[in-house]
């Protein structure tokens, strides 16, 4: 994810520079303009909405809107659920793909076949699987048929819904991280293992001292991807449980999208700033942790 240095330093190597930067700006301009118009400028301007009381009066209220969002119970619930959900999903989505990638790396047969199977769920639209999941977890579903025939329950609208969503998430996005981690494993030079063997290192030692260490960059990336992908889970929740799901799977997305339908600019702007700051802090922390780890070897 981190940008590499350019192929050659433009300042030092004159010959690298291509004249006619006017044409280059022309190529770049649409993208930058679009980004400014649809993302950056409205985001910055929305600070105005965050500090006024309402669009009609337009009185300056300072940080009151922020305080209102942070103080509201539904925001607490949404934040709490999102943090827990993201944490659980990210852990599962690292451990399971790591195991699969290790096994795949060990035997290296039928690679294309396994890619096909593990990546396929990722391209399947959420809507296409709704009916099936409902018939697995719903009132007359497979789970009830097998275990709770006498007291069947709709598990999608129960406290267990959380784990159902985690399961579906894993089914869908594990393939992405399997590919990433497998590529990471393949990048570790075989010689390292051979040297270790000569030095008399056992399998476990090789695993902890070579595999785990040199996989850190790929694992970090997989971590970030799992983090990003976990914000896409709204699709599954919406498809399965609608816009107002059980409170166990009421996420920040639900909180924010409800403000959209109410067109509450004040809450919308302030909550988006809060989420952005939180998210950027988390990513920065991760980034520096990874730096630290990488520096140590």
């Amino acid at each position: 994810m981190v940008t590499k240095k350019p192929y050659c330093s433009y300042k030092k190597n004159r010959h690298c520079r291509i004249r006619g930067d006017g044409a280059l700006s022309l190529l770049l301009l649409p993208s930058i303009m679009g980004l400014l118009i649809f993302y950056i400028v409205p985001f910055i301007l929305s600070i105005y909405n965050a500090v006024i009381d309402n669009p009609a009066n337009r009185n300056f209220v300072g940080l009151q809107n922020f305080a209102a969002v942070i103080g509201s119970e539904s925001f607490h619930l949404a934040l709490f659920n999102t943090v827990i959900f993201t944490g659980v999903c990210v852990v599962f989505n690292l451990v399971f793909p790591f195991a699969i990638a290790l096994l795949l790396n060990r035997i290296k047969v039928m690679q294309n076949f396994f890619w096909l199977i593990f990546l396929l769920p990722m391209v399947i639209p959420s809507g296409s699987m709704v009916f099936l999941w409902q018939k697995v977890f719903g009132l007359n579903g497979l789970i009830n048929l097998l275990f709770f025939k006498d007291i069947p329950k709709d598990w999608i609208n129960s406290p267990v819904s959380f784990f159902i969503i985690v399961f579906i998430f894993l089914w869908k996005y594990a393939g992405y991280n399997i590919v990433l981690l497998f590529a990471g494993l393949n990048q570790i030079p075989n010689e390292y293992y051979e040297y270790a063997e000569v030095e008399g290192a056992g399998n476990w030692r090789k695993f902890t001292s070579i595999t785990l260490i040199y996989l850190t960059p790929a694992a970090f990336l997989a971590f970030v991807m799992a983090l990003i992908n976990s914000s896409k889970i709204y699709r599954e929740i919406f498809s399965l449980a609608g816009a107002y799901p059980h409170q166990n799977i009421y996420l920040l997305q639900h909180y924010m999208y409800n403000q959209f339908s109410a067109i509450n600019y004040q809450k919308l702007a302030s909550s988006s700033y809060i989420v952005t700051v939180g998210f950027v802090l988390v990513v920065l922390c991760l980034f520096f942790t990874q730096r630290k780890i990488s520096e140590n070897f």
């Binding site: 940008t3 192929y7 190529l27 399947i124 007359n140 590529a183 790929a218 914000s231 919406f238 997305q253």
Partner: protein
């Protein structure tokens, strides 16, 4: 001998996980060839006289199966030819995703090229902003999207989804990642021959970044084919909703007789794109990571 045994064991574990991953899809696929009557018999909640086993006296439980009692295209027939509803929603999805993919490629490829060859002093700083926006979760970036849609008065139309999607920084990032491994000498040579940037982009760079373009096309297509969040926020007219959202309603509806065929019909374009471009997609995923 022992090594062979271990290998076989590992393969068995992998095949088992693969089977677990594939089973849900297999059921959806094969069950789409059952008659509506059979689907109703197998999956209906209410006890129906024609099939009363698998009940607890109050409700009827599902009877999952992979092989239809009698294979038929009747679900597809009902879906595609008896009514225009599904075709309509499918068409909505197409109308949404086609301009997004085309526009995204059109904007992202030149921008990625410009980022890579430009000698602009702050280009890495600007690119960093691209990456930050790319990483932000959807619920955050949707807020500026919404504000500008209200401002431009396009809330409620597909444009409110299409325009921000076209300018999403993901494509610029992915293509530039690929360009980094690209031999600079090609550009130099073209330059010496008197080609301008447009010419180099078209005749030199574009043919060489085709794998990245393919990967990008697939990733963008499957992402927006499955668009839900934006639809919930921007599209209020129910006839304009894409298939992704409509199917969620369908599953809770009474029309379960065609549910599997509708699911297959809807996933078909994504699966075809995937099967043709699987290698590119794997490459694209690895590209999004390896520096």
């Amino acid at each position: 001998m022992r090594a062979k045994f271990i290998k076989a064991f590992i393969l068995a574990i992998l095949l088992f996980s693969a089977a677990v991953f594939f089973l849900p899809l297999l059921i959806v696929l094969t069950n789409s060839f059952m008659s509506s009557f059979e689907v109703l018999n197998r999956y209906s909640l209410r006890i129906i006289p024609s099939n009363d086993f698998g009940t607890n006296g109050v409700i009827h439980f599902v009877e999952f199966g992979v092989i239809p009692r009698m294979a038929t295209f009747s679900q597809y027939d009902a879906l595609l030819f008896q009514t225009r509803v599904y075709i309509g929603y499918f068409y909505n999805s197409l109308k949404l995703v086609t301009p997004i993919v085309a526009g995204h490629l059109l904007i992202a490829i030149p921008a990625a090229y410009a980022f890579e060859v430009s000698s602009f002093k702050f280009k890495e700083a600007v690119f960093f902003i691209y990456i930050v926006i790319m990483l932000l979760p959807l619920q955050v970036t949707l807020v500026p999207n919404f504000i500008i849609a209200e401002f431009l008065n396009i809330n409620g139309s597909y444009l409110a989804i299409i325009l921000p999607a076209i300018f999403n920084p993901f494509g610029v990032f992915l293509v530039r990642q690929y360009l980094k491994g690209f031999p600079r000498e090609y550009i130099e040579a073209a330059k010496l021959d008197g080609a301008g940037h447009f010419r180099i982009l078209k005749s030199v760079t574009l043919p060489l970044v085709m794998p990245a373009v393919a990967a990008l096309t697939i990733l963008i297509f499957i992402d927006y084919w499955n668009v839900v969040d934006q639809t919930v926020i921007f599209i209020h007219d129910s006839t304009k909703k894409p298939m992704s959202v409509y199917l969620a309603y369908l599953a809770k509806d009474i029309d379960i007789g065609v549910a599997f065929a509708a699911s297959c019909f809807y996933m078909l374009p994504a699966v075809i794109v995937f099967l043709f471009g699987q290698d590119y997609m794997v490459e694209g995923i690895q590209l999004s990571g390896l520096k």
